[in-house]
Symmetry: C2
Subunit: 558 residues, 2 copies
Amino acid sequence: MSRHAQQLFDRHRETLDQAVEAITSRGFWSPFPENIKKYPEEAVKGASRRFEALLGRPFPLKVPAVAGQVGGEASPYGFELGVTYDQPEQGALIAAMQAAMPAWRDAGAEARVGVCLEILARLNAMSPDIAQAVTHTSGQAPMMAFQAGGPHAQDRGLEAVTYAWQAMSRVPATARWVKPQGKHDPLVLDKRYHIVPRGISLVVACSTFPTWNTYPGLFASLATGNPVILKPHPAAILPVAMTARVAQEVLEEAGFDPCLVSLVPDTAEAPVTKQLALEPAVKLIDFTGSNAFGEWLEQNATQAQVFTEKAGINTVIIDSVEQIKPVAQNLAFSLSLYAGQMCTSPQAIYVPKEGIRTAEGRLSFDEVAGALARAVETFLSDNDRACAVLGAIQSPATAARIDACRGLGEVLLDSEPREHAQYPRARIHTPLLLKVDASRRDAFGEERFGPISFVIATDSTAHSIRLAREVIGEKGAITLGAYTTDDAVAEQFEELAMAVAAPLSLNLDGGVFVNQSAAFSDFHATGGNPAANASLCDQGFVARRFVVVQSRRHGQPD
Amino acid sequence: MSRHAQQLFDRHRETLDQAVEAITSRGFWSPFPENIKKYPEEAVKGASRRFEALLGRPFPLKVPAVAGQVGGEASPYGFELGVTYDQPEQGALIAAMQAAMPAWRDAGAEARVGVCLEILARLNAMSPDIAQAVTHTSGQAPMMAFQAGGPHAQDRGLEAVTYAWQAMSRVPATARWVKPQGKHDPLVLDKRYHIVPRGISLVVACSTFPTWNTYPGLFASLATGNPVILKPHPAAILPVAMTARVAQEVLEEAGFDPCLVSLVPDTAEAPVTKQLALEPAVKLIDFTGSNAFGEWLEQNATQAQVFTEKAGINTVIIDSVEQIKPVAQNLAFSLSLYAGQMCTSPQAIYVPKEGIRTAEGRLSFDEVAGALARAVETFLSDNDRACAVLGAIQSPATAARIDACRGLGEVLLDSEPREHAQYPRARIHTPLLLKVDASRRDAFGEERFGPISFVIATDSTAHSIRLAREVIGEKGAITLGAYTTDDAVAEQFEELAMAVAAPLSLNLDGGVFVNQSAAFSDFHATGGNPAANASLCDQGFVARRFVVVQSRRHGQPD
């Protein structure tokens, strides 16, 4: 293996060992601080200046042959980025990546993992810069863009490398097979086992979490030997391009072809994803985005292993609570965070129409719904705090959806635009909360991406569970929250979670939220319902990214 | 968990631990003796009597609702079996299996693995009986039917259980997540992780290896919590039905619904596989058989994880040898064994037209081809031995293919029918060996299932490698054999193996054959070329058969 890559592996070996322990015991762990104060002052303070220096000019990357330039990102905070990117000539890129693959394969697991860990370490150091790019493409508020776009995304990348390392480590490099033959000499075979990548890996990124949802597929594929094409969403290219640049630098320094990680940007007008997805050399596809396109990939890109993170009807069921106030406050945060644009944001909140039990007495349905609406209202009453939690709406289509959905139920809390102190043209909207009857599956049973949610009046908690089971069974869900003070009902929720393969968050209040998941401990999505066919990250996420090719020949008895 | 299942787990725990060690170190190991003399005399001697007692009558299994009876198997040794089987009513079966699933899931990994290991132990004890059923459906000769249909198939089943156990063991049942909050109390979450099966598993068996190719999927799915529908080939139902009966008995004794393993037999005239494969509740499909049907499944059954073992152009490349005789003898056995009806049997043998180097001097192409033909002829000159190696041709279509292919090249060795001492109507044919030029891709580059192979005259070993790379790249291969006395060429073969993802057997002579693979050590197929999209068995074969569903709730700081 390359001496340089070996040094990288040795440098990060302790982190890797800790990560293996973390995915095994699944307690809290991260090598990447989420507290921005832990980063050097100059890295933090200079980030916006460095970001501005990128604007209005080409962003250079290594490209085998250039077909043209694309660009056109606009910040949801109200300005054009003006960055342009080379679009590679597809045939030349595929050929170059295929040519680069054997050396990357033959370098071995330690070299590849060393390179991946160094890429992650450098990405971590530039988290403030990544945060700028994430903010002004996804619209995430700065602190969320820092955490989710920086250390939390790096955590998920490291988690993928760790699963890959563990899976590859379980295959021995060699074995001696000695089969007794009674009185005769034994049969002896010497065997070698090679980790062989599947082929070119295509990672299709989304506009709302351009790094968090991209790093698992990128690092799982790269660590197992596959060259990776990063195909960013046309509205959020820059964070992915910055990632690609770091990857190319580290690869090149370690003596590998930098095109092993290549960016293929496109535009909404001339998309290239379908063409790439059906390319015979593409053997792995990771996708985050809409159900329609995810299902198209699952059904059409049958030459590839396809890993999809789509959308579903994220669900909260309220049966009973100790006190409504901390529950409403907790849910208010979940509904407000990034204005419901997380794939984990709740949409359907089931409450029995007869109301719920609390330690302070019974609350009617309207009291529960009202408490929720008031909690959101109160939480967002300070405009600066509201802007710092809501962030901006990534896409004009999402903003338009708020108006389109207003008529779907009785308005419990109307959505309103907010003005950002620094960016007056920012697209900021508070949540819309609607009340509907359980019969209105047409309203709450379709995904309404954005700050739109429903409090649904059901006949009972049993009815809520039955409805949730049907709706999630059909449409999927990435999160399931539930509240009860009754242990038997808690077990029914646990059973529901297993039946629909959605992770359960029970009775959350305080500082943990249904829409947040922690790498190394929480599995993000299960892969077992229509919202996603893969989990970030589990063994299945890495095991099919490589095959084992063996050889055997006669050996001499010892 | 069921007390009974726990006892089963404890009983077989030591075997399981040894199996975990075996798949890790990949040396020789098996708990199931392949030597028939290790089995009780009565078990061996009574097998044919017990087999005959099964003929001409219904074979009872537990079925939720019966739609009708099917049957019609005929022994390739020339008689009708006359066994009939209940065909379940499909809707009722799916409903019953879904209803049985939660209890099987909730029993936990130890209970499920305990049941699986007990099923395998009982199957092992009845290996002589299974051998009878395998012989008189697949046509395998008795000793092969015993070994491949009995202990070797059980090895592959145990290997699948072992990978499943290892994958499930890596997910902790619970975890405590404690996130420091500076001066404040830490955030504490208590988490549970559940192994949740994907759904109903469909295992589509083949006619030539009705147990060997069925047990991996059956046991990988069952151990991970999925109910399993066994859909045998209409020509080879009995060995699968016998397996289902044992599984149902063990399940029922352990307190589980026996329909967790259900047989769905059909007929060639009214096949049900497509309908079953598209059933929304079917989430896993294992298939062994033709490329056409395997590809149909991969492209259409997109609601399921599909694992296919199809066919390819198994390849041997001869560059140079120490001595031609042991090489020719080794290949003669590989070509003769089960008359080329193994998915691992060589079809394309590349030899430079300028001939090859040997320690005894140069041999011309015709001398090499002639040595091969003579070795087969000599090996099969004793009729009893020939019948004991060739077995019978499973399908009349395969026998007809011999005649259809005779014109594809120059006949080096013609195929001839043989008469079996005990079964004069047995369908027994010796191998057809043809000589063709490398330009005849139309002849050797299509799968010719059965005792049909080609010695192909190439320009050089480099040309052989290039051709093999193209043909296997396009059509796949499950085995790759190669012969060279040159270390540099050996490394080129190693590189070829990785490039086409086919396992390499180098310079085999003596008692190890390219078409045999050993469980726990050899990966059968890689899943990386068109001949198969899965390997028996690796981590990828089990990892996507279950998902992990977690729950989390607040805990108290310690």
